[in-house]
């Protein structure tokens, strides 16, 4: 015989103002199986919890129903309290009479009636609850960071600092990411390389950090604490252990016409190359798309000049299989293609550049050695027009992105300011929709560009850039002046919107981590869990979660590391016992559940069953891995034979609730 206790909470006036709690507890006292029913001002308080515990002990309650706030708020609190009194925590049910009742109703009579119904449903369910015991799974104390930009580096350094081993998988030949290409950083104008490259070296020298460069994640299996990851380390045709990074091969290679991605294609590199002087690891890589030896079998110059004997034309891709407890996505961003924005004549004139290209043109390690020269004729530009929001804040979605790329206002102010500082003979115009500079010392920075450096900020957009006779004829609107502007510019700089790196989408699929419509990773909660993915054990660092500047990226990278450290410092993880379970006697092996499972928790095995007349039957049946199952319930709906059920939310329990509500 069930002995159920009902505890109705007032939540101060939150519930009591629109629900007559006295009537509710009286009504629920008359439900079958209920032996005790009461109400109290704050059930979650110590006094409230004590009362529940006392009644469990005194009356030997077999089930507890608490009519209160959302289970998201205090289910764990009440479960813990009941467990202390000797009741299995899964024999506690919450009827949400706050968020789903008192807060949304004004009429007290209606609210009271609904609260009674919700309480009745919970009582009906708890009658069928079975005690559940949470299992445990061990934690592999090693983290994987995918992406070796400033986000990934910072996360890895912080995790390593706590003593856990970390692997960084970077798809490029060097770590460092976009920040390596940046000249100076706002708002302090310190040199990006000077603050980044020491961190790259720290990462390389840290015993706990293993950098797997020129590699990509190919497969992810497993679950929080127990991920199993397959990494493909691409052949760089150079033995990393032998190469000293002397760079002789990169000078002698006869294939000179390979677009240099580090300089955004503004100059060329060789087929064998070290991306830049401070690369980590500082080893050469042969680009198989351009190497004459790899393509035709004739050349071999690099091999002849290499004194270390590091060149290996027969090197193969290497597959690394490794176990991890936690995975951090730090895949970063890319500027969008300017293909659809040819009103700015990007494809028509080399003097129309993106901001990242401009960054290289201003950088001492860039193609012009830091002197600002027009790409078309190598001359000094006098009039520069910066266009903000190219592809950002576009509605309609046919071209561009609906969101604000967030970093462009600040780097454009930086570019404009640096240009005016280095070349006082220039006229610099910035066209903007809005100037958005929230952030510590950010607005002051922008004001300085306007007030001290005399940059012409014009509210309005550029409509057309027409290259003609060595000039760029810019047609734009000045919205505040209410007039059209025609500027003959020498260079036009486009602040291209940023989008997630192309590798993010396939990675999200592998990780079963969710993404938004723009392919940014979604966080578990936009405010309260900003660095966790909704998939347990997967964390987010940097611009893969949304546009971010460097300070914000570093802050998020540290936060992600803290979450990883918290996870890896545990020896075991408690599993959620409310997982799917297959009744093997009813399962017909159809695979419907396996197909809908978003977590890959269901597998099939051939199992022997006892048949009639002492025979043995082998049948294919579903098996749920309770450590992987997240209890979403998709399989229980998909199962055509009713074999699949969710513990704690069984079909019978749900139906009992529905019956109680419809009674």
């Amino acid at each position: 015989m069930q002995k159920i206790g009902v505890f109705v909470c007032w939540c101060g006036s939150n519930i009591a103002a629109t629900v007559d709690v006295e009537t509710v507890s009286d009504a629920l006292a008359r439900e079958p199986g209920v032996v005790f029913s009461t109400n109290y001002q704050y059930m979650c308080s110590q006094a409230g919890q004590d009362m529940i515990q006392e009644k469990i002990r005194e009356l030997g309650l077999t089930g507890v129903v608490i009519c209160s706030c959302s289970p998201r708020m205090h289910e764990a609190t009440f479960r813990r309290a009941c467990e202390k009194a000797g009741l299995n925590p899964y024999l506690v049910e919450i009827a949400n009479i706050r968020e789903q009742c008192s807060w949304i109703h004004k009429d007290k009579a209606v609210g009271t009636e609904k609260a009674i119904i919700l309480g009745r449903a919970a009582i009906a369910k708890v009658q069928l609850n079975a005690p559940l015991t949470a299992g445990e799974s061990p934690v592999t104390k090693r983290a994987l960071v995918i992406g070796g930009g400033i986000a990934g580096i910072q996360t890895a350094l912080d995790i390593a600092e706590a003593g856990f081993p970390v692997d960084i998988v970077e798809k490029k030949p060097t770590i460092g990411g976009k920040m390596t290409q940046i000249d100076k950083t706002f708002p302090t104008l310190d040199c990006a390389a000077c603050i980044l490259t020491p961190k790259m070296v720290d990462a390389a020298q840290n015993e706990k950090i293993n950098i797997i460069s020129y590699a990509q994640v190919e497969e992810v299996a497993g679950f929080v604490g127990n991920f199993s990851v397959k990494i493909r380390k691409r052949a760089r045709f150079v033995d990393e252990t032998k190469c000293t990074g002397c760079g002789l091969c990169t000078e002698k290679c006869p294939q000179k016409n390979v677009p240099n991605e580090f300089n955004q294609g503004l100059d060329n590199r060789r087929a064998i190359y070290i991306p830049f002087a401070q690369a980590v690891p500082k080893v050469a890589t042969i680009d198989p798309n351009y190497c004459t030896m790899l393509k035709t079998g004739k050349c071999g110059v690099c091999s002849k000049v290499c004194t270390a004997g590091a060149i290996d034309y027969r090197q193969q891709d290497e597959i690394i299989q490794q176990e991890y407890g936690a995975i951090v996505a730090a895949t970063g961003f890319e500027p969008i293609s300017m293909e659809k924005f040819d009103e700015f004549a990007y494809s028509q004139s080399p003097d129309v550049v993106t901001s990242l290209e401009f960054e290289r043109l201003m950088n001492a390690a860039g193609p012009t050695g830091g002197t600002l020269l027009r790409p078309s004729d190598g001359k000094h530009p006098h009039t520069l027009v910066f266009v903000q929001c190219v592809g950002s804040r576009c509605d309609g979605g046919e071209k561009g992105k609906p969101y604000c790329s967030k970093i462009c206002c600040m780097y454009t102010a930086k570019h404009a300011m640096l240009t005016r500082e280095k070349y006082p003979d220039t006229e610099v115009y910035v066209f903007y929709i809005d100037v958005r500079t929230p952030g510590k010392n950010f607005d002051e920075f922008y004001r300085r560009a306007v007030e001290e450096y005399g940059v012409h900020y014009v509210k309005g957009m550029v409509g057309k850039v027409a290259p003609e006779n060595g000039k760029l004829k810019v047609q734009a609107s000045d919205l505040l002046g209410g007039r059209q502007l025609h500027i003959d510019a020498d260079m036009v700089v486009l602040a291209a919107a940023i989008e997630p790196d192309r590798s993010a989408r396939p990675l999200a699929t592998m990780l079963t981590a969710s993404m938004d419509t723009n392919d940014f990773f979604t966080e578990a909660h936009p405010k309260l869990r900003p660095v966790e993915s909704p998939t347990a054990g997967v964390f987010l660092s940097g611009a893969c979660q949304g546009p971010k500047d460097i300070p914000e990226t570093v802050a998020q990278a540290g936060a992600a590391a803290a979450k990883v450290i918290g996870l890896l410092s545990r020896d075991h993880l408690t599993c959620n016992p409310c997982v799917a379970e297959s009744n093997e006697l009813m399962c017909n092996g159809c695979s419907a559940c396996e197909k809908v499972c978003p977590y890959g928790a269901i597998t099939y095995i051939d199992k022997e069953f006892r048949g009639p007349n002492r025979t043995t039957l082998v049948r294919r049946v579903a098996q749920v891995n309770p450590a992987v199952c997240q209890g979403c319930g998709a399989c229980t709906v998909a199962c055509p034979s009713g074999a699949m059920d969710l513990k704690g939310f069984s079909n019978a329990q749900i139906m009992a609730e529905v019956d109680a509500i419809c009674k």
């Binding site: 293909e339 040819d342 494809s347 028509q348 309609g396 057309k464 027409a466 004829k473």
Partner: protein
């Protein structure tokens, strides 16, 4: 292959060359353009007002007539194409316009946007194919540097016109390559020539046309081609004669050997 063909008023009067050489060339390419019976002026300007139905009706008649013949409808004039294609989109997607237009017209079968509207250039690109066209050319216009002038109506709004990128189009450049000449890309090729203002503000029209021609000239073009009679008129008459401007069909006819001469 036979298409229904809507020439439009201008092609019967001021713009005869566009029509004449367009038809002759298609015939040479083995494609029949069958002129719609009893067509009327398309309205010339697409009415932006949501409740303006009357000026859309003649376009609907042409569309319904092509539908009744079971053919795709080809147009050549940029303005006609613009109006007819957009009205067709309205008839397909806007319940109010569809029901009101049908209530006016009382067609035997109500029209709901079934006809596929194609520009002549799309037929060249997608049905003939520029590779195939290249093979059919007998008088390649080798060495001629030609700028394509798209104007404003042909490609925009791109969501509705949908046959090339309005900011970075390629269809006319590909056409120029196919007839053996060299395309000159210049920024003003897809800007308005100002032709619409020629009656009320001739100075403005002239200034705008001048900009287009100067930009083309400075980018190395020796002549321009267009598909729009109004652009041709404005560039020729108000533009100051900086560059010769012709209909693209005329050059097509020359390349195919349908029209004699080279200029």
């Amino acid at each position: 292959m036979t298409y229904s063909y809507f020439p439009g008023c201008t092609l019967k009067t001021k713009g005869k060359d566009l029509d004449l050489w367009g038809r002759a060339s298609m015939e040479a390419l083995g494609i029949q353009l069958q002129e719609l019976p009893q067509w009327q002026c398309c309205g010339a300007v697409y009415p932006q007002a949501r409740d303006e139905i009357a000026t859309k009706l003649s376009a609907v008649r042409a569309l319904a007539s092509a539908r009744d013949q079971g053919r795709e409808l080809v147009t050549l004039c940029s303005a006609c194409h613009h109006v007819i294609k957009r009205v067709n989109g309205d008839m397909r997607s806007d319940e109010t316009i569809r029901s009101r237009a049908n209530a006016y017209l009382q067609l035997e079968t109500p029209y709901g946007g079934e006809t596929r509207v194609l520009h002549y250039l799309e037929v060249l690109r997608d049905a003939v194919g520029f590779e195939e066209l290249k093979k059919r050319v007998v008088n390649p216009l080798t060495g001629r540097r030609i700028g394509a002038y798209y104007g404003c109506l042909l490609l925009r709004p791109s969501g509705e016109m949908g046959f090339d990128d309005p900011e970075n189009p390629a269809i006319l450049e590909d056409f120029i390559r196919a007839i053996g000449a060299e395309p000159v890309v210049y920024a003003m090729r897809n800007e308005c020539c100002g032709g619409y203002t020629t009656l009320e503000n001739k100075d403005y029209a002239a200034r705008q046309a001048g900009k287009v021609l100067a930009n083309a000239l400075n980018c190395g073009a020796e002549e321009l081609i267009t598909a729009c009679p109004l652009c041709l008129y404005n560039l020729q008459t108000n533009g100051g004669g900086a560059l010769p401007v012709r209909y693209f069909t005329e050059l097509l006819a020359q390349a195919l050997g349908v029209k004699e001469g080279t200029a």
